[in-house]
Homo-oligomer: 304 residues x 6
């Protein structure tokens, strides 16, 4: 397909991207990548290509990743049988150790390797490095599932200032050295807050918020916090989407300018969001500026 573009076409596209490059130059963008959006190696490579491009055009990009499906796979492989409390899996010491190996040892380093191969300079950390993510147990019954008590952004800034792309596994630890598995959306949101990021991008395996969840053409391009809370109240947002949206709202209330939920399985959705006029997925803002009916995403996108 690539051969369809002439050199003049290419130059044309690049110059049309110019105002967007300008807009995000020197800005901090935290991208959460994980779950089903990272299932194939091809998909992962494509996303890493986008991250490197952001990096090269001067965006201070930070990648936060989880890896639930791979952890489950590894637990199965070592024959670890999980216990459940009220239907929730208990993360015992053995389980969190497996999670640590998969996240910090496998996924993190694989993403770093892809970024390097695409021309980026990346360093992979996890929450334990440089005391970055301090956590405590959320619920003793669930074991080592962590609730973040503090994010120390200094190591991330140190890497950004030295020209690296920080890649961060969503793990945390406490002063006693216990390691906790942390929800990657939450980790990304808290990191974005600590960095006063302009954008938090959650790459998921859904398109964004839908007016009618069974109608893929009903994507909502833009809502504000109040609307989002209303949609939770009215049940339009439900299930696993609720904590995700709540974590977006918390980020917006804590120094993050705008949040985007998008489908990480669509090739180059990050680039489309940041560098084209229509964007991708659903953007959540603090407060829409104009009247609801006239407000549109592009107005918001060009304004921060």
């Amino acid at each position: 397909m690539a051969t369809a573009f002439s050199n003049a076409d290419r130059a044309e596209v690049l110059t049309q991207a110019l105002p967007y490059f300008k807009k995000y130059y020197g800005k901090t963008v935290v991208v959460k990548y994980g779950g089903n959006a990272m299932l194939t190696e091809d998909l992962q490579q494509q996303v890493m290509e986008d991250i490197v491009l952001l990096h090269l055009v001067g965006v201070r990009v930070v990648l936060v990743h989880g890896g639930g499906p791979e952890i489950t796979g590894m637990l199965k492989r070592v024959g670890k049988e999980s216990q459940f409390v009220n239907g929730l899996r208990v993360t015992d010491k053995e389980t969190v150790e497996i999670a640590q190996m998969v996240l910090a040892g496998k996924i993190n380093k694989t993403l770093v390797t892809y970024l390097e191969a695409k021309g980026g300079s990346a360093i992979g950390l996890s929450g334990m490095d440089g005391r970055m993510i301090t956590a405590k147990m959320k619920d003793p019954a669930l074991g080592y599932v962590g609730e973040i008590t503090k994010v120390n952004p200094v190591p991330i800034r140190d890497l950004l200032e030295r020209g690296y792309i920080p890649v961060i596994s969503s793990l945390g630890c406490d002063k006693e050295g216990n390691v906790y598995n942390i929800n990657a959306d939450t980790a990304a949101a808290k990191i974005a807050s600590a960095l006063h990021a302009q954008r938090l991008i959650l790459m998921t395996n859904i398109q964004g918020l839908l007016k009618d969840k069974d109608d893929p053409t009903s994507l909502i391009p833009l809502i504000d916090m109040e609307e989002a809370e209303g949609m939770i109240g009215s049940g339009i947002i439900s299930g696993g989407m609720i904590p995700k949206i709540e974590c977006c709202i918390t980020a917006l209330k804590n120094n993050v300018s705008k949040v985007i939920i998008m489908d990480g399985r669509i090739p180059h959705s990050v680039l489309m969001e940041l560098f084209t006029d229509t964007g991708a997925g659903t953007m959540i803002v603090k407060k829409k500026k104009a009247e609801k009916d006239t407000a549109n995403k592009n107005d918001e996108r060009t304004d921060d």
Copy 2:
């Protein structure tokens, strides 16, 4: 025409540009722009758009400009009649003062304004600023036509390090404060040498070197210095092209990696040269690596 690209197309093109962005990140590129290639405002704006894009993707880009046609226009306007010696125009005090006004006062500031409007941060200098270009009289009979005796690159580096695009008028002065008009190709070449630039790009109103000057399809994509000297000897390169090519050769012999002669009238030719696989115009290198018949421009382009 722009509407012909979907967002996916745009993202596709951007990611295909990634290796080129990477290649030129932090590299110094001196672009000479002038003469008939800058005749229309539209053309000027397009070239400035390209310069800003280079700047934003991390290229240390320096713009050197002349402005012969506009100087001629202004001389005519003030009713200044030029004297001629052996058919060459004499640049007397009054003429060089007009040249200074047109170059440093009009063209330089217009280009700066265009760059700023496109999102760049530019500062316009001329050779007198910060004692950047020291010159002497080339030939007393011709008056204030300058020959460069020294280029001081410090002010240019100062501006690059503070994040500005330096825009330089091809003027020089001597210790007594006399101002000289300087050929813009030469000024750009000497500046590129003083900066140890990776690329010197001469934007002209010709396509590049042609095997047969009457056949526009006979563009030579790549030659080396020896071949170029041969072509001067054999008369293929002739007329006003001879000093241009000689100035390229001098640059190559003095710390400049590669020189490209291209047609500044083709929209976005700089972007095509740097960020696509086929490039634009004629590249001159010190010494081709492989056998002449097998050598091709892309091999050279991917190698410095």
Copy 3:
């Protein structure tokens, strides 16, 4: 005349200047130079000598210049006939272009060349460089006469920190790239405010404020803002001096410590003002400290 001083005399004078050197070390002084005070080349060279001396003894000196008479001369030369509205000249596109050429292309570069010849290191900018002066149309009837909406002091500080004397043409532009001619007093005052300057010096072709405008011996050495406003009210300050004084008052209200109006045609008046005990011209301060009758300029001069 210089030979009248013995070396011992010279040393004596230098050591007497010591407390003044100390006083202004590291301070920011904005000097506006223009109009009839810059009529001869000799005068210009003398003023530039003073500026270089300030620079060498550690003053952060910034030179802002206009050039009305030369613009008028050039307009005449190209045969441009101006239109008038209510007796005020209309600055159409052609006129502002001529102004730009004269200011940024001729006067600015000439001053830079003189400063360099005297041993300074200078860089000439105009308001368009680095988006330094943003302006809008003051009155559509008058065309491209600009009113400053914003001064960005960053490029000036960048040059000062790298050891250059910034020389600034009083031009501005808007986001659309339109260029405006700006009153040099106003430009200097706004720049002094943006830099939080200790001194703003307006070099004019008058001695300063006179009690009796026909009596050159009636120079007022020191007034404060309230007195100045009173003198405008009572008509002692009148005509073209009113906007000049108003612009001084605005500067004093916006972060400038003291303003001096002096005669730029007296050799080395800047040095006399800053480095001798009696100063030169009229100093305007926010509020005189002592009783009016006992207050004197030297008390004020030694105190900021």
Copy 4:
């Protein structure tokens, strides 16, 4: 046991350590830690305590670790059966992936957590991060066992300059993104060379070099490269000790001042080596200074 020291004793010991603190202030010490020397958590914590102490007294300390036994344990746990070629285990893709998880995901982060708990500020990397260790396949028959082709010390220096203790897993990768398991002794030696380290300390599960391998009292405190090569030739050094010693010699030939082989199972052996008068283990130097019979380790230790 700690209670045996009075405060006066403690102060006494500290002041006696003063010349050693002074000696190593600002020096680079690379410590390789791995294998059987890191078997218990208590031992690991003790070694990390020493590393933090070095860090706090101003040593630029870098920790490189392997983890063979834990990799073997994990392979067994996932039921991976290894193939053997000439008695050597083949590291296929699956095996190197397990190694990566154990090294970069488990051991590395555990050591980081211990260092943090002791008061250090540590960041764990592996050879893929920041393109630090480039490797290639040593022997296709053995699979992903890497031979280092290049060490990039920049990320390590970046971390040291920002005040972190770098903890490095002995993994490498190639441009295609293949990961290789690398011998930790070799990795530490190459890293020490790239950093021009003053000391390379290999913490093993042996005392050092013994004159008589069955007599633990026959520890050789000091040899030089020539002697070491002689001992290999004469068979005194044999088996797995040969590559270890060869790697020390290579380090000494490549910018490392001195190498020490010591028993990591003895509590605080690193502190004893660096901060007491007798040291620990066997020191290998380029060339002994005095006659062999009179040379002693302390002479060498006080001299670099």
Copy 5:
């Protein structure tokens, strides 16, 4: 005695000091040393050894010294007879000159020399250097006894940042160049305030505060300001100890975290205070945290 420690003992002690090293890393500690506590050369050397150790483990240590007994000795030696007013010695010009020679010329440089010999890098200043201590006459009847009007901490910070231990003689001067002898406790306290020091340590020739001044076992380890004021009121603190305690209280009220009064004649009392669990002497804090009866010094020591 030193031979009583095995290397394992030494390592053990060092690792037990680790949390204390960590606690004071990068903190500012001002040590006042003088009077009878500096009587023998051996004592001086021991204290300087401690200062160098603090310096090497990352404490920003500043040494302030007096030298009353040596000044008295020198006055006697030159046969200067002092006059007395109300029993207080008058410091005339001649006396202050002798004091200056003894403090800045002898003691200061001797301490610097000892620090250098122990491996520190020290620079000796007195209050006149860099206009560090501005003073005025306290009481004309007493002559050149100074009261500090201003401490300029910049020269001290300049030296700390360049890696030197500043050693400061307690002298001051006024704008006219008069020199004043200043009480060293006061000088140290004011310097500690100007530096926002974590600790001010006054090394004296008493153990600390005693409940019963005749019972050396009644040392009070910890009091707060209120208690100290009470003890002055009730006469438990009396005589020369009153101004010392008042100067501690002033320091605590002005940006100093904690003050310790200790016996400088006990070998390594500074190290014992900072690097062991029981400390030495009496610590004065702003406000004890817990109930008086349960509060203890260690709680306070671990908390700032």
Copy 6:
């Protein structure tokens, strides 16, 4: 006398000094001041005024001082009787201690106080500070008279870079902490060499070199090393002037550009030397450029 100058005169003199300010801007000038040239307080204040002026106009000025007469005075005052060996005074421990007190405690701090009062920012050091001057005993029979074995210029540069005028007492010490009295000419010369100074100025109580030592009008303005050596051979230079001249020659051979011997008792002789066209005293250069008979001092002065 000062009132003899009009403000115009003053400005005139300042602008005539401009090229000299320019010439020495950023240059390093080491001034040795001592002996009979510093006998009165007035003289000392005048010289300090000159030093501050050099500092303010951007010269990196370093002041080195001795103080023989004052040391002799103090020895007498304490009733110390000196022993003599071959007519040379023996500097025993007691004597060097007195010297240290007078130099580092009195003269050094007095000079610092004067510099501060004139508006400079000065810090006084002696050779022991920051291990600046390492010395050894010259001749055991003469006691603690030091011969410099090493000058460490780092503390001097540290002070210059932080904007202080370093004032240095000519004392040194060895590793054992013994202090040595050092000839101030030698100390200044070695310091000038270590700093690669452009000028070494020895302020003495003679005019300079005289052709006929009894004829004060026979001052030699300029000689080179070869001539100086010839004059020693022929006896024109004799007595105490010989070591002084030898120390100049050593400085010229070791990185110092030019040396001037001048009369410190003439008001502002330093300013006259550096900032007027005829200079003061005798300049010694490596090698005169032109023929001896045509060479003159001003040619040399304008050339380095």
